[in-house]
C-alpha cells in the first residue's frame, strides 16, 4: 500500500518535533527512516499509528487521505508498530502480552510457540514478561504484529535485542511482506542494516526532512552520503587501545548465579583495571544475571565477588556503589531513570549527600554540564519521559558518577545515533584510561568486537573462557554464540 505523509506538523509545548514533514513510501518497499537523536522519527511514526495525535497535515493511503486519530483508526488502516521502548505489560505473561489486543484472533500458547519457532525465538508462553530482557520483549511484540497481518509495518529500532541470525529472519520476513505489496518503515541508526534491507531511505533532521534517496545494493558512497545528510560531516570510529595493566579489578571465584529461568556457574574470572569486557550471546542467556550479580543487585547463590581486593560478596547494593560500581540498565524508563522527574532532579538524586535542602543552583549547573557534555536535546527542567529515546540513553550515561572502578552496561548505545555512539565510546575509553573496568552486554557484535579487549560468550547456561578480540571477527563471534566454541 502506498503511503504518503503530507505537511505533517507536531509540537510538544516549545518543541517543534515534526516541522512540515512530507515524503512517500511506495507500496511493496522497505523504507528506511534515519536521523540523529531527537530528529522526530518516533514522533512521525507514532502519528501514523494514531498513538499520538497530529497538529496538522495529511496521511494518505493509496492517494486517499485517511483519518487517523487514535490507535483504533490506525489498526483499522492496518498499521502496526513496534515501539522503540517496549510498550507492553511486564506484569503479564508472555502469552498474555501476545494476546492482549482489542481485535484479532484469540491465540493459544501453541500458536505462539509455532510462530516463535519460525524465528528461532526462544519464548516461554508462561514466563512473566517483566523477567525477560528488552530484546525478548521486542520479540514478543514483533511476533504479535506479524501474526496480526498488518498492511503497513513500522519498526522503530527493532534490531537491538536480536542476534545476527534472528536479524536475518526478521529481514526475510520484512522482504516477504514487501513482496506482498505491503509497505515497511524501518527506523534505524545502523547504516549496515539500512543498506542491507531497505529500498529507499529518508533522512530527518531537527523535525524536518533532509531528503530521500534510493538504496542501491553495493553502493559504496551511500553510507557516507547518509552520514553527511544526518550530521553534515564525516565521522570516524574511535578505537580502543589495548589494555596492558595486569592489576586485577574484579575477581569472581566459584560463583553460581540463579534466577527463575537459568543457573550459571563461573569457576574463576578476573577482569583487570582498564579492560573492556564484552558479553555476547543470545538475549536472555545469562548476561543480565552476570551483570546484576557484579552490580550487587542480585546476590549469587554461591561464591565470592571481590573488587580491587575488597570483598563485596553478599554486601548490599550501596556497598557496591561506594566501591565505585555503576550499573546502566537496558530498560532505561523502568530501571534507569525515574519518569516524572526532570534531568536536574536526577542530578540531585545522584549527588544527594544527605543535605536536607535541595541546592537548586548546583542542580541546575550539574544538569547543564551533563547536557552540554553528552549533547542531550533537552533542558535541566525537561521531564525524562519526554526526551527522545536516544536522549534518554544519553541522560542515563551522563548520570554516571565520576571516578568509577567498574561500569556495567546493558546495550550501552541502544537507540543512540552514530555520532553519539562514537562520542559515548570515546568517553568510555577515557574512563578506561583512568583505570575503570567496563563490562557491557550487547547484541551488536560489531560493537563488541570493536571496543572490547576480551569477550565472554553466554550460551545455553554456559559461560565461555574469556576470548581475546585480537583477530576475532563479528562473524566468528556469531558462530560461537550459536554454540560452536
Amino acid at each position: 500500500m502506498r503511503l504518503e505523509f503530507r505537511n505533517i506538523h507536531k509540537t510538544f509545548g516549545q518543541v517543534h518535533a515534526n516541522n512540515d514533514v512530507s515524503f512517500v513510501v511506495e507500496a511493496g518497499t522497505i523504507h528506511g527512516l534515519l536521523g540523529e537523536n531527537g530528529a522526530g522519527k518516533s514522533t512521525l511514526v507514532k502519528m501514523l499509528t494514531g498513538f499520538i495525535s497530529r497538529d496538522s497535515g495529511e496521511i494518505l493511503f493509496d492517494d486517499k487521505p485517511v483519518l487517523i486519530r487514535t490507535p483504533v483508526d490506525g489498526i483499522r488502516q492496518g498499521v502496526g508498530m513496534l515501539h522503540q521502548d517496549p510498550l507492553d505489560f511486564p506484569a503479564l505473561t508472555v502469552l498474555e502480552n501476545f494476546r492482549a489486543m482489542a481485535g484479532g484472533r484469540w491465540y493459544t500458547a501453541a500458536d505462539l510457540r509455532k510462530l516463535a519457532a519460525e524465528f528461532n525465538f526462544d519464548l516461554d508462553p508462561e514466563e512473566q514478561a517483566g523477567n525477560l530482557t528488552v530484546g525478548e520483549r521486542q520479540q514478543i511484540e514483533l511476533l504479535r504484529l506479524l501474526a496480526l497481518g498488518v498492511r503497513t509495518l513500522v519498526l522503530d529500532e527493532p534490531t537491538t535485542g536480536i542476534s545476527a541470525h534472528q536479524k536475518d529472519q526478521l529481514f526475510a520476513a520484512m522482504r516477504t511482506l514487501a513482496g506482498q505489496g505491503k509497505s515497511v518503515i524501518f527506523v534505524s541508526h545502523k547504516l549496515e542494516d539500512v543498506e542491507e534491507v531497505c529500498d529507499y531511505a529518508t533522512v530527518m533532521r531537527r523535525g524536518g526532512v533532509v531528503g530521500s534517496l534510493p538504496v542501491a545494493k553495493g553502493d559504496d558512497t551511500l553510507a557516507a552520503r547518509l552520514v553527511d545528510m544526518m550530521f553534515g560531516r564525516e565521522l570516524a570510529l574511535p578505537s580502543k587501545p589495548l589494555t596492558t595493566t595486569p592489576t586485577p579489578a574484579l575477581v569472581l571465584e566459584d560463583v553460581v548465579l540463579e534466577d527463575e529461568r537459568l543457573s550459571i556457574h563461573v569457576p574463576k574470572f578476573i577482569a583487570p583495571c582498564g579492560e573492556v569486557i564484552g558479553l555476547a550471546g543470545l538475549e536472555g542467556s545469562g548476561q543480565r544475571l552476570f551483570i546484576l550479580a557484579c552490580a550487587g543487585v542480585q546476590a549469587p547463590s554461591r561464591g565470592q565477588i571481590h573488587l580491587r581486593a575488597v570483598n563485596l560478596t553478599h554486601k548490599p547494593y550501596a556497598a557496591y556503589q561506594d566501591a565505585g560500581v555503576c550499573y546502566v540498565p537496558a530498560d532505561r524508563m523502568r530501571e534507569g531513570l525515574v519518569p516524572g522527574l526532570t534531568i536536574q532532579e536526577h542530578v540531585a538524586l545522584r549527588d544527594g549527600s544527605g543535605e536536607f535542602f535541595l541546592n537548586t543552583t548546583a542542580m541546575q549547573q550539574g544538569a547543564e554540564r551533563a547536557i552540554a557534555e553528552y549533547k542531550i536535546r533537552g533542558t535541566p527542567t525537561s521531564f525524562v519521559e519526554r526526551l527522545s529515546g536516544g536522549n534518554q540513553q544519553r541522560t542515563q550515561l551522563a548520570l554516571m558518577p565520576p571516578d568509577l572502578k567498574l561500569i556495567l552496561m546493558e546495550h550501552p548505545t541502544r537507540g543512540l545515533d552514530i555520532d553519539s555512539t562514537i562520542w559515548i565510546w570515546k568517553l568510555l575509553i577515557d574512563r578506561c584510561a583512568q583505570g575503570a573496568t567496563i563490562m557491557f552486554a550487547s547484541s551488536d557484535l560489531d560493537e563488541i568486537v570493536q571496543y572490547s579487549d576480551r569477550v565472554l560468550v553466554f550460551s545455553g547456561g554456559q559461560v565461555s573462557e574469556p576470548i581475546s578480540t585480537q583477530g576475532l571477527t563479528a562473524d566468528r563471534l556469531g558462530e560461537m554464540i550459536g554454540g560452536k566454541f
Partner: protein, 324 residues
C-alpha cells in the same frame, strides 16, 4: 464445642462474610482497571439504605438489590468522572465520598430506623445441602450467599480466562500499551469502575436485607474499609480476596465465641485480632520474604510458588491516562 456447634458457627461465618466478599470483589474489579474507589464504606451504608427503602416500599426484596446497585453505580460514576475525566486525586474523591455517603445515609435514613422490610428468604439447595458437613456449612443458606460463590468463580474466570478480562487487566497495568493495541482506555475504566461500584452497592443491600437485616444509624459502618483492605491482602486476585474475607469472617466468629469463654483478656482485644492476622499475611505476601523462601525450592516449583504468593498492585493504579 461439639461438631454441630462448630458447623453452625462456620455456616454463620460464611454467610456473614458474603457482603464483604461481594464488596471486596467489586473493589478488586475497579482497582484492576487502574482506579481506586475509596468510597466503599459510605456506599455500603447509602446503598444499603436505598435497597432497604426500595424493598420496603415495593414489598419486593429483589427490587431492593437493584436499587442498591444503582446507588453504588451512581457514586462510582462520580468517582470515575473525577478520576478519569477530570484527572483529580482518586484518593481524595473517594475519601470525601465515603464520608459524605455515610452522613447522607444517617440523614436520609432517620425515618426508617428500626422499621421492617422484606428479607431474603432462606433457600437450602436440594441435594447439595445433604452433603455431610459441607452441605450445612455452605448450602443451607440463601440466594445472596450462593451469588457470592458464583461471583468468586465468575470473576476469577473472567479475569484470567477471557479476552475482556485480559484487556481489563491490561488497562490497569499499562494504559498506554493497551491504548496502542486498540483498547478504549477511558471507556473501559468507566465501565469497570461502575460495575465495581454496583457490586459494592449490592453488598450494602446484602447487609440490610439479609445478613444484618434492618436499618439503624451507621448500621454497618466499617465493613467498607475492611473490604478495601482485603483487596490488598488478596493481592488483587478474586480467589485470594475471597479467601481473605472468609478467613476474616471465621476468625471473627471464633473469637466472638472465645470472648465469652476467656475472660482474662479484655474483650476489646478480640475484634482487632483478625487485623493483626491480616497484617502478617500482607507482610509475607508483599515483601521479599517470598522471594527468599522461593529460592529454597528448585527452579521449576519456584515460578508457580512465586505466582501464587506474590502480590503486586496493578502498575497504573490511581494514575490517570492521557494521549499525547
Amino acid at each position: 464445642m461439639n461438631t454441630t456447634e462448630l458447623i453452625s458457627l462456620l455456616a454463620i461465618a460464611v454467610a456473614a462474610a458474603a457482603p464483604i466478599v461481594i464488596a471486596a470483589i467489586g473493589e478488586t474489579i475497579t482497582e484492576r482497571v487502574g482506579v481506586i474507589n475509596l468510597s466503599a464504606d459510605g456506599v455500603i451504608l447509602l446503598a444499603g439504605l436505598g435497597g432497604f427503602v426500595a424493598a420496603q416500599t415495593t414489598k419486593n426484596v429483589w427490587i431492593g438489590f437493584v436499587a442498591a446497585a444503582i446507588v453504588g453505580s451512581l457514586v462510582a460514576l462520580v468517582v470515575a468522572f473525577g478520576a478519569i475525566t477530570l484527572k483529580q486525586s482518586q484518593t481524595a474523591i473517594g475519601f470525601v465520598l465515603a464520608l459524605l455517603c455515610t452522613d447522607l445515609s444517617s440523614f436520609l435514613g432517620a425515618p426508617f430506623v428500626l422499621t421492617d422490610a422484606p428479607r431474603v428468604p432462606s433457600w437450602p439447595l436440594p441435594l447439595l445441602s445433604d452433603i455431610p458437613y459441607l452441605g450445612p456449612i455452605l448450602f443451607h443458606a440463601d440466594a445472596v450467599v450462593y451469588f457470592t460463590y458464583l461471583l468468586i468463580g465468575v470473576s476469577w474466570f473472567y479475569f484470567y480466562k477471557t479476552r475482556p478480562g485480559l484487556l481489563l487487566r491490561s488497562v490497569g497495568e499499562q494504559p498506554s500499551a493497551a491504548f496502542a493495541r486498540g483498547v478504549p482506555v477511558i471507556a473501559t475504566r468507566y465501565l469497570y469502575t461502575i460495575v465495581g461500584g454496583a457490586l459494592v452497592g449490592i453488598a450494602g443491600a446484602a447487609f440490610t436485607l439479609d445478613i444484618k437485616a434492618g436499618w439503624t444509624f451507621r448500621h454497618v459502618a466499617g465493613y467498607g474499609w475492611i473490604a478495601l483492605s482485603l483487596v490488598i491482602f488478596g493481592g488483587w486476585n478474586p480467589l485470594k480476596v475471597a479467601l481473605g474475607a472468609y478467613l476474616f469472617g471465621i476468625t471473627q466468629s471464633l473469637l466472638g465465641k472465645a470472648q465469652s469463654v476467656v475472660t482474662l483478656i479484655p474483650s476489646q482485644v478480640f475484634p482487632i485480632l483478625p487485623f493483626v492476622f491480616m497484617i502478617l499475611v500482607l507482610m509475607v505476601s508483599s515483601g521479599d520474604l517470598v522471594d527468599r523462601m522461593a529460592r529454597l525450592f528448585p527452579l521449576g516449583v519456584r515460578r508457580a510458588l512465586l505466582r501464587t504468593l506474590r502480590a503486586t498492585p496493578p502498575n497504573s493504579l490511581g494514575k490517570p491516562f492521557e494521549q499525547d
